[in-house]
């Protein structure tokens, strides 16, 4: 009897694997926060690929920035996608502002945060254009916390 039940269970689990359904996986990953999402991206190649979908990051972005301008999606996609936007701008901004105690509670503050993020993102994209005259695009360096190398 045990064998039968175990086998049945195994059948069930074998029958359904989250990795079989990429969209479902994406839906789930879309509910993670930034660091968790980055960790999920390190699990396996499949998860890495799925977690790089822009929709996943867009969901994350929308949770952080409660405002939205119409047409944002097109612009963001053009500038490099939500993943880049989040990794380079929105995430670090959220971290910094959380440290300094500001939270985007009002819609105005959220809108300001959004426009600031987008502005910085566009500057960063601009820097990456062209032949890379500067060593590295570094207009966003100020967002990164100093690394203690002592």
């Amino acid at each position: 009897m045990e064998n039968a039940e175990e086998e049945k269970e195994r059948d069930n689990t074998r029958g359904y694997n989250i990795n079989d359904n990429h969209d479902l996986l994406a839906e789930i990953l879309a509910r993670l926060d930034g660091p968790s999402l980055a960790a999920a991206a390190s699990v396996c190649r499949l998860w890495h690929t799925v977690s790089r979908r822009d929709t996943v990051w867009k969901a994350l972005f929308n949770r952080h920035v409660a405002a939205d301008f119409p047409g944002t999606r097109a612009v963001v996609a053009a500038l490099g996608g939500y993943r880049r936007l989040y990794c380079r701008c929105v995430g670090p901004i959220a971290d910094r502002l959380a440290v300094s105690g500001e939270h985007a509670t009002t819609t105005e503050a959220a809108a300001a945060r959004l426009s600031l993020s987008l502005s910085l993102f566009s500057i960063d994209c601009y820097e990456r254009l062209g032949d890379g005259g500067w060593q590295r695009p570094s207009s966003l360096l100020f967002l990164r916390s100093p690394v203690d190398v002592s």
Partner: protein, 647 residues
């Protein structure tokens, strides 16, 4: 610590003997006044300048003995007379220039009688007050001649301390500085906190007699320390008192810091009076003193010293104009990255332009400060996302000629066009190379083909200038011409960002003190975000070079070469008003965005955004450093603006 000890004890010793033993005073005076050469190796250079021969190797021992002497001589004022009489009559006096043996003799003398402080040394035995400037000058005329304090000997200039009306106090872990009733800074040694501090301080300040000829209206009493920021020290604040229980004497760097600032002031005066021999000596002294400081003060002092040196040796910065501009572009890029000033400028100007362009279908921005075009991606993105869709966006960039025939302006334009293409903004670009903004004529800036543009809506023009207009003040009439050109183009809005400082005043000394304060604050703010990774450090270094070039220009150049002619917002208001412009208030959106931007910077809590009559200023702590303002042509009755005005 050591130096001040030597000064105080030496000075007191010598001065104290003045009433009692003129012969001794004469010797002392002679020693003090003479510009001793630093003779053989091993003799400490700074002390030699004061007339003391002390071997560098002996310094520790000498310092110890000084401390002991200090202890021995400290005490309540009641017994001062006794000691004085004793010292004057019964003791054998040795030449104090050989400090080591002199100290030994003093110690042996004093170990017998009760430790007292000679009363007559102090000009006012009664009361707590520090000697008023004239009083102390009188008391010390034995060895300081105020009249030629600044012009003859370096020693006198360095040791004189200016007592301002409200000196800033400093709270430091190991000791305290207190304000006296009459004003003046004193240090309280940890070991003897309260009572004797009066006599102690008087004897310390004794040598620091303020010479009556010292700089009028100088930049206030300043104390510079390594750890707290310079800015907080230069600004007067209310005094607090902390008596430390630790038996520590004052930290060396503080005294050196005071001396450094005074050396800078003295050098500026010498340069002003064209007394280049003295100035030369002072510049070297500044360099030596600065090396003992750390952080911002050292760097600022270094750049000012360089500026002075250029002035003295008439080193005109080899102005290969075109090469210079490329280099300064690179420096400005690093300045852009390492601190928020330029970003603040761009964001606030963009916000003002965005609001002015509301509802317009064709917009044209003329940028006087094109450089790398870092301001415009953000504006384009904002235009792309505005309700109603983006307008067609035209950009005219003005820049200086480039050295190697590369058309930098065109390259920037190309990059911007690429970006505009990705976000689907209709974009047109034109670049103008001009040696000076005054070379521009209105017809160059206007729409090329009125025919094609006439059917559609006419263009709405905005003019943007970041740190460019002040250069025009170097040539008379240039600014007026440019403002007339601007008016002729009929812009909807003119955005202007300038340094908030008056570095264009007539007298050199005023300019110098203002610049010292301003750049000290600037360098302070740069220090805030320091200690980061290699790239950030490189950015900071390049930013400092960028600011250093400005310092050299302010200090060393004159006439048309001096292009860093910063003026305050109030002055600009007068100029713009006189030229027919009226101010436009920058909205609260800009303020919010700017505040949020600043919160992102590592040293964020030091920066302050303030709104002043519709203009935004960004400063470090209490000192505004740059100001953004917006203008429009006064009384403009633009029919198109009425038609397209969405409000």
């Amino acid at each position: 610590m050591k130096r001040e000890h030597l000064e105080s004890v030496g000075g007191r010793g010598i001065g104290g003997y003045a009433p009692a033993a003129p012969g001794m005073a004469g010797t002392g005076k002679g020693k003090m006044m003479g510009l001793d050469e630093e003779a053989d190796g091993g003799i400490d250079e700074l002390l030699a300048a004061f007339g003391y021969n002390v071997r560098s190797s002996d310094m520790a021992g000498v310092a110890e003995k000084l401390e002991q002497l200090e202890m021995a001589m400290g005490g309540s004022s009641a017994h001062d007379d006794a000691l004085l009489i004793h010292l004057a009559s019964d003791t054998v006096h040795y030449n104090p220039s050989d400090l080591s043996s002199w100290l030994e003799s003093m110690l042996s003398e004093l170990s017998a009688p009760p430790p007292q402080l000679p009363q007559a040394i102090h000009p006012n035995s009664s009361g707590y007050n520090l000697p008023q400037a004239p009083a102390s000058a009188h008391s010390s005329t034995a060895f300081f001649d105020p009249a030629d304090a600044l012009t003859t000997t370096e020693s006198s200039t360095v040791t004189s301390v200016d007592f301002p009306a409200q000196p800033p106090p400093v709270v430091f872990p190991d000791f305290a500085v207190r304000q006296s009733g009459s004003g003046g800074n004193r240090a309280v040694y940890g070991s003897e906190p309260q009572i004797d501090s009066g006599t102690r301080d008087r004897k310390r300040m004794k040598t620091s007699s303020s010479s009556s000829s010292s700089r009028g209206g100088s930049g206030g009493g300043v104390i510079v320390q390594s750890s707290p920021t310079i800015g907080s020290l230069l600004a007067p604040a209310s005094g607090t008192e902390v008596a430390s229980a630790l038996p520590v004497v004052m930290v060396d760097t503080q005294e050196v810091g005071i001396r450094l600032v005074h050396a800078l002031m003295a050098c500026a005066e010498a340069v002003n009076e064209e007394n280049f021999k003295v100035a030369d000596v002072l510049v070297r002294q500044i360099t030596v003193l600065a090396s003992s400081q750390s952080g911002a003060m050292r760097k600022v002092a270094g750049y000012f010293a360089e500026g002075f040196a250029r002035k003295i040796y008439r080193l005109h910065p080899q102005q290969d104009c075109s090469l210079d501009s490329a280099f300064s572009d690179i420096l400005q890029m690093h300045f852009y990255e390492s601190c928020p000033y330029l970003k603040f400028a761009h964001f606030t100007a963009n916000q003002a332009i965005l609001e002015a362009f509301a509802g317009c279908r064709r917009v044209h921005v003329i940028d006087f400060s094109m450089k790398q075009g870092m301001q415009w991606p953000a504006l384009m993105q904002a235009l792309a996302l505005r309700p109603g869709g983006p307008p067609s966006f035209r950009l005219t960039g003005i820049g200086p000629p480039q050295p190697d025939n590369t058309d930098a302006l065109q390259q920037v334009g190309w990059k911007l066009a690429q970006l505009a293409d990705t976000i689907h903004v209709d974009f047109e670009y034109r670049g103008f190379v001009a040696n000076s903004l005054a070379d521009l004529e209105p017809f160059m800036l206007e729409t090329l083909s009125p025919a094609s543009g006439g059917s559609a809506e006419p263009e709405v023009v905005a003019i943007n200038s970041v740190f460019e207009l002040h250069r025009l003040l170097a040539r008379p009439g240039a600014l007026e011409k440019v403002l007339a050109t601007i008016r002729a183009v009929k812009p909807r809005i003119v955005t202007m960002v300038e340094q908030e400082a008056n570095h264009n005043a007539g007298p050199f000394m005023e300019r110098f003190t203002e610049a010292l304060h301003y750049y000290s604050t600037m360098f302070d703010s740069l220090e805030g975000g320091a200690g980061a990774a290699g790239e950030a450090q490189q950015d900071q270094l390049m930013s400092e070079v960028y600011l250093g070039r400005q310092i050299c220009n302010v200090v060393a150049c004159e006439g048309s070469e001096r292009t860093e002619r910063h003026e305050t917002l109030t002055q600009w208001r007068t100029r713009m008003g006189g030229a027919g412009f009226e101010p436009v208030h920058i909205g609260s959106n800009a303020f919010k965005q700017a505040s949020m931007l600043l919160a992102l910077f590592a040293g964020g809590d030091g920066y302050r955004v303030e709104e002043k009559e519709g203009c935004l200023t960004l400063g470090w702590h209490t000192r505004p450093l740059i100001a953004t303002s917006a203008w429009r042509v006064a009384g403009a009755t633009d029919s198109t603006s009425a038609a397209t005005d969405a409000h």
